[in-house]
């Protein structure tokens, strides 16, 4: 039997969950550069095709080590017309090791503050970042606020760990979705490459 428990890592929990929240990004250095081929090289770690210029770069979250960044575009139409997509090394803090398990956890929390009624529109296996993945498209509606959102999440793997790409497009209930934004997202995902092994793969 394998010897276990020779080093113990003790953790002291804080009941106030605020301490676990992301802190604002304070880095002064631009985390990316452009390759001669017009691809974005992000911290010499990722490569991807940039979205059109009307998409604004977002550093969604940089807390607790793992990378999350994305792009946002305000859309025509009334509030809350906006589209956001992102790459997330730690998709919504979930722990499941399988795509299906991660999907369940992800949607349990995804946009949970919005209290939306979700409907899964499509779920399919895909190839992403050179391996197997899972893509899920959902639509959520809030009949009280009269808002809706269409979202797509793509789970893939980097080493042993699950990473995610997701896009959300918010609209007023009577608004129409813009499929071109999803095409930009799909192009972003399809172009995405890991340029080196992750920290976890090098341990």
């Amino acid at each position: 039997m394998k010897r276990k428990g020779l080093t113990i890592l003790c953790l002291m929990l804080v009941v106030t969950w605020l301490s676990g929240c992301a802190t604002p990004e304070t880095s002064k250095k631009v985390p990316y550069r452009m390759s001669p081929q017009g691809m974005v090289i992000w911290e010499d770690e990722f490569e991807f095709s940039p979205p059109p210029p009307d998409w604004k770069l977002l550093r969604v979250e940089a807390g607790e080590n793992d990378v999350t960044f994305g792009f946002m575009r305000p859309d025509p139409g009334g509030f809350p017309s906006v589209t956001t997509f992102a790459y997330d090394e730690d998709p919504f803090g979930c722990t499941a090791a399988s795509f299906e398990g991660r999907e369940r956890e992800f949607f349990k929390r995804f946009l949970f503050n919005a209290i939306l009624q979700f409907q899964i529109l499509e779920r399919k296996k895909v190839r992403v970042v050179g391996g197997e993945g899972l893509a899920v498209i959902v639509e959520g509606k809030d009949p009280v606020k009269k808002e809706k959102v269409r979202a797509k999440v793509v789970f893939g793997k980097r080493g042993d760990r699950i990473v995610g790409f997701y896009i959300t497009q918010w609209r007023p209930m009577e608004g129409s979705y813009d499929p071109s934004a999803f095409e930009v997202f799909d192009k972003f995902v399809a172009s995405f490459k890991f340029l080196k092994k992750s920290f976890y793969e090098t341990l």
Binding site: L6, T7, L9, C10, M12, L13, V15, G93, Y200, L203
Partner: protein, 104 residues
């Protein structure tokens, strides 16, 4: 907690085990741990002596401060950091500790 859950396979690689300690009662921790999918032990210490021992018990408050502590196989505290866990720092430390101690 979820960050540690994701890293369990790496802690295992470095012969480390993780436990969480909180002043919450057992029932609360049980439901909380289940909701997060945490499989490592969460210890309830409502009398707060662990917090006093590790100097993370704020006076007059019913909670512990957030602190990460690594204790080696001899019972010596080797690593202390306050605030949110720096998972990469913890992993690098555990790797080093495992290497310097040989195969513990």
């Amino acid at each position: 907690m979820e960050g540690h859950q994701r890293n369990l396979y790496l802690y295992d690689r470095f012969n480390a085990r993780v436990v969480g300690v909180s002043r919450d009662d057992v029932t609360t921790l049980k439901y909380w741990g289940n909701s997060l999918g945490v499989t490592f032990p969460l210890l309830s210490n409502i009398t707060a002596f662990v917090g006093a021992y590790f100097d993370i018990q704020p006076e007059g408050k019913p909670i512990f401060g957030r602190r990460t502590v690594v204790i080696d196989k001899k019972g010596i505290i080797r690593y202390v950091r306050d605030g949110s866990p720096d998972f990469k720092d913890i992993l690098l430390f555990l790797k080093k500790l495992n290497q310097e101690g040989g195969k513990p």
